[in-house]
């Protein structure tokens, strides 16, 4: 409760977004503190991914505000590029650049956006690939790697510029079950190092393990939020219970 006096890392206030006439996010309020890991869960189409993409302004929104360290991300002093230098995102389908080697994928933003020399950027990138067990793949093209390796490269790419916040959008959803573990371990490591993260996931076991807080989204609202231990075992809302029941039936909890 002491955190209430500090400025949250991210503060989402009354966020409302439409796609055409369809309401996607309905007055969403969410504060994420420094070093906090928040997991967003909910059925497909509940607005989780959209919420994530609003945070780094990949999607515009209709009403409400998002503050990063108390600064409005739509304000005068915050350009898209400044914002995206501080918020990294990893996508479900990796979205690596297929025409570039792993090393170039990772060093593109440091070199072109952050103005770091190629030599220095490559050194950083190789160090980080080493940490993620990918040192042998620096010169490979993404399509030579397994899905799990590609996703780890994508995480390195997002992390190499030292963002304040990392957004993870269903990063294990496209992976074979035996490859999920490696990616989740990396995210656990990042949490232990104090990374602030907002994670959209369907892996309830992982959410329970890594999240400080879990938010259940339903039809564009945060219907319920709480500690993973509480929300995943004793959900208050009927909808949350139904959702978790379906997940259990699918064998994912």
């Amino acid at each position: 409760m002491t955190q209430e006096t500090t400025i949250p890392k991210i503060s989402i206030q009354n966020l409302t977004k439409y796609f055409g006439a369809k309401l996607i996010l309905h007055s969403v309020n969410l504060d994420v503190q420094l070093h906090e890991v928040v997991c967003l869960i909910g059925a497909s189409g509940s607005g989780k991914s959209t919420l994530l993409r609003c945070i780094n302004r990949l999607f515009p929104f209709d009403y409400g505000r998002i503050l990063l360290d108390g600064v409005d991300i739509e304000g005068e002093e915050m350009t898209d590029n400044k914002l995206r230098k501080r918020i990294g995102i990893v996508f479900q389908s990796y979205n690596l650049f297929p025409h570039m080697t792993v090393l170039n994928n990772i060093t593109l933003a440091p070199r072109k956006v952050h103005g770091i020399s190629r030599q220095e950027a490559e050194m950083q990138a190789r160090d980080m690939l080493g940490l993620f067990g990918l040192q042998d793949h620096a010169e490979s093209y993404p399509d030579r790697l397994s899905g799990g390796q590609q996703q780890r490269v994508a995480i390195v790419r997002a992390m190499v510029t030292n963002p304040d916040v990392l957004l993870l959008d269903e990063v294990t959803a496209a992976l074979d079950p035996e490859l999920i573990g490696g990616v989740l371990n990396i995210i656990r490591d990042l949490k232990n190092k104090g990374m602030t993260m907002v994670i959209v996931t369907h892996e309830m076991g992982f959410a329970r393990d890594v999240a400080d807080r879990v938010c259940f989204l339903d039809e564009g609202r945060i219907l319920e939020e709480g500690s993973p231990a509480r929300l995943l075992t004793r959900p208050e809302h009927l909808r949350t219970r139904q959702f978790l029941q379906r997940i259990i039936e699918a064998g994912r909890l």
Partner: protein, 286 residues
């Protein structure tokens, strides 16, 4: 006992890849050679059975006339090649620029985007030949100060203009085929719109359409001959001059052979690039 059995079957070497027999390899090749041979013999017999063939042979396939016209036609063809290379360079740059301008979404870019659309529509609606006549004869007549006044210069400009309009559509298709998620990824890394185009979208777009671009080059290589209508002494013009002087058309055959010699390798090269591209895609899905 059973476990030993399993082990021994595991240790069995798999048979080596099957090698086709001599027969399986030779027969298809033989069939294609024989059928091609029969077809050619029939074609030659059919054409030469025409009553007019001896006359046509003298008019079009006279070895003497071919030898005599060769130096002039070859000199003209050298000009074809030079114009082709120069035009191709400008087309590659200009059409990419057009495609990029058309892809701009910012409202402030509306006038240039609109201009690009208008340009492409207008140019594609006019036959290339007409464009060459208009620019090649029209602009030199204006005697614009500071501009070259040669028909060859403006004829080449007309070719560049005409081909750029088509090629820009090829580029545009290639850019649209790059998945949106690539743009999202680049933007999310903090790359500006231009950097996103430069490093993420355009390299992939060019890869997507490289066979189509090379196909355009093969086509341009021959369309340079259209400049003959405004008096540029390239290969076709040179052979027509010989024809007008001697009433023998063999020089046209010389020009045709030269065009073939240049375009067939280019076409094969295009095929190879397309094939390599296909193999790469297949590997990707594996």
């Amino acid at each position: 006992m059973e476990s030993i059995d399993i082990q021994s079957s595991d240790m069995n070497e798999p048979p080596p890849p099957k090698v086709p027999t001599q027969r399986e390899r030779i027969i298809p090749a033989l069939v294609s050679v024989v059928s091609t041979g029969i077809f050619l013999v029939l074609a030659v017999w059919f054409v030469s059975s025409s009553e007019q063939w001896p006359a046509v042979q003298k008019q079009f396939f006279s070895w003497e006339a071919m030898k005599e016209s060769f130096p002039d036609v070859a000199r003209g063809f050298w000009l074809n090649l030079k114009l082709f290379f120069i035009a191709e360079i400008f087309i590659t740059i200009f059409s990419l620029l057009l495609a990029v301008v058309r892809s701009l979404k910012s409202p402030i870019a509306t006038p240039i985007r609109f201009a690009a659309i208008l340009f492409v529509d207008a140019v594609r609606g006019v036959p290339a030949l007409l464009l060459i006549l208009l620019l090649g004869f029209g602009i030199p007549a204006l005697k614009l100060p500071g501009f070259p006044s040669s028909a060859m210069f403006w004829g080449t400009v007309a070719l560049v203009v005409s081909y750029s309009a088509y090629t820009s559509e090829v580029y545009r298709a290639g850019m649209e085929a790059v998945h949106n998620s690539q743009q999202a990824a680049a933007r999310a890394l903090g790359l500006s719109y231009w950097q996103t185009l430069r490093y993420a979208i355009i390299p992939q777009a060019v890869r997507n359409v490289l066979p189509a671009l090379l196909n355009g080059a093969v086509s341009l290589q021959k369309d340079v001959a259209l400049l003959s209508v405004i008096g540029v002494r390239e290969a076709v013009r040179a052979s027509q001059i010989y024809t007008a002087r001697t009433f023998n058309y063999s020089s046209l055959i010389v020009a045709a052979i030269l065009f073939l010699l240049a375009s067939v390798p280019l076409a094969r090269f295009t095929d190879r690039i397309a094939q390599r591209d296909q193999e790469r895609r297949l590997q990707r899905t594996r």
